[in-house]
């Protein structure tokens, strides 16, 4: 098994692992960690695609690698927004949860 195939399979496993955490963990910060695991798994799939595309004197296809760099930046930006929301939620309320039931309590005649 070549290193790139191994990395691709690792990526696949990471996607599954992250999906498990994303669905099951009730805490949003844990969900965010799980999302980041999925993200890195997806980037590894780009990585194997890039490595397989070695040709014309390149040891890799530069296009997917460039996409991974863009993707890492975007994923970080997403994490930053999520962290800001989580911290504000924790500061505003006693429960850091996304459980819709907690938030669907009748809240009087408040408007937008």
């Amino acid at each position: 098994m070549t290193p790139s195939v191994l990395a691709g399979l690792t990526g696949a496993a990471l996607v599954g692992l992250g999906l498990y955490g994303l669905i099951l963990h009730p805490h949003p910060l844990r969900k965010l960690l799980a999302f980041n695991l999925i993200g890195s798994g997806v980037f590894l799939v780009f990585g194997i695609v890039a490595r397989r595309g070695a040709a014309a004197g390149f040891r890799f296809d530069p296009v997917p690698q460039a996409m991974v760099i863009t993707g890492i930046v975007v994923a970080f930006a997403a994490s930053a927004i999520a962290v800001a929301l989580i911290l504000r939620l924790a500061a505003e309320s006693s429960h850091v949860t996304l459980d819709p039931e907690v938030w669907s309590k009748p809240n009087g005649g408040d408007t937008q």
């Binding site: 990395a7 496993a13 999906l19 099951l24 890195s40 014309a56 296009v63 991974v68 911290l87 924790a90």
Partner: protein, 317 residues
């Protein structure tokens, strides 16, 4: 080199092991620390995939800056009043989710093994274009990011600005205009100050070096900017510097400098080079380096601002 496959398997199992720890750890903070270690290990996987540019980015951003972000978040969450325990999912749901996740992972794994042979690749096109639109750039990834797919790269910088506004928008109304809370609440600790004083200037030099060589060797605007950002965060953690006010004009100009210069050159390309986001053949390399210099600045400012969080009312301790 019969040792290499063996090392690869060890590396892959380490990555997976730490990932499993991150998902299953009981303690929130332990999971966060696990994730940071995971990011560093991942950088090695990228080296093994002949992707030093990605490895640099992963180490600097995926592990480094994200690590600071998450650890700060974990600490701030821990410092808040104790949070009501959430309902844990039942065993049936766990099993069901486990089966679903395993199915997805194995389907994906199978599909990866089925990717076509010979693999399609744009490497030949990129090599051919290196004499044209990517003129003079020895690093094909920089050529892709700054020339062939420059539109993506410009938009990604816009995403960063938008994320900064998004993070700021979560703050309180009263605090608008103020600075974000310091990265470190307590008094600075002497070794930290020493580290910041020694490392920051050297790190800044290395950052500029990484950016500059990025035209021909692994590195580039993003990696250089991220390193510079890390140095700024280090000085903020040592409390040698404070986060700036969000309404500071210089801050906003620095944040938009990269995308704005990119946009202006892109529009100028429409007049001078016959197509938006095209560069005149002879000047391609200097123009790209010029744009990248401003991008380094914007990234170096944007990442710490994303970590620092929304403006907060002053509460000095």
């Amino acid at each position: 080199m019969s040792l290499r496959p063996f090392l690869d398997v060890i590396l892959a199992s380490l990555v997976l092991g730490v990932a499993i720890f991150t998902i299953t750890a009981r303690d929130l903070f332990a999971a966060v620390v696990g994730y940071v270690a995971y990011g560093l290990l991942l950088a090695f996987v990228w080296i093994r995939l002949y992707a030093p540019d990605v490895a640099l980015t992963e180490a600097a951003v995926g592990s480094g800056v994200t690590g600071v972000l998450l650890i700060t978040a974990g600490k701030r969450l821990g410092a808040l009043k104790d949070v009501a325990p959430d309902r844990q999912p039942g065993l049936a749901l766990k099993l069901l989710t486990g089966v679903l996740a395993a199915l997805v992972a194995s389907a994906l794994g199978a599909v990866i093994l089925m990717l076509p042979d010979p693999p399609p690749s744009l490497a030949p096109e990129a090599a051919a274009a290196a004499d044209g639109p990517g003129a003079g750039l020895g690093n094909p990834i920089t050529a892709v990011l700054m020339s062939y797919r420059s539109f993506d790269t410009m938009l990604e910088k816009i995403v960063l600005i938008l994320a900064v506004v998004g993070v700021w928008s979560v703050g309180a109304d009263k605090a608008w205009g103020d600075a974000p809370a310091p990265l470190r609440q307590q008094k600075a600790y002497a070794p930290m100050v020493f580290l910041a004083q020694m490392l920051a200037p050297v790190g800044a030099l290395i950052a500029i070096h990484v950016f500059w060589t990025g035209a021909n060797a692994p590195g580039g605007a993003f990696q250089g900017g991220a390193l510079l950002a890390a140095m700024w965060m280090l000085t903020m953690m040592a409390r040698l510097a404070q986060p700036p006010r969000v309404d500071a004009q210089w801050l906003r100009l620095a944040l938009v400098a990269g995308p704005a210069v990119f946009l202006i050159s892109g529009l100028a390309g429409g007049v001078v080079a016959g197509s938006f986001f095209a560069y005149p053949q002879a000047l391609a390399k200097p123009i790209i380096l010029f744009i990248e210099a401003f991008m380094v600045l914007s990234i170096a400012v944007a990442l710490p601002m994303l970590v620092a969080g929304p403006p907060s009312e002053r509460q000095d301790q």
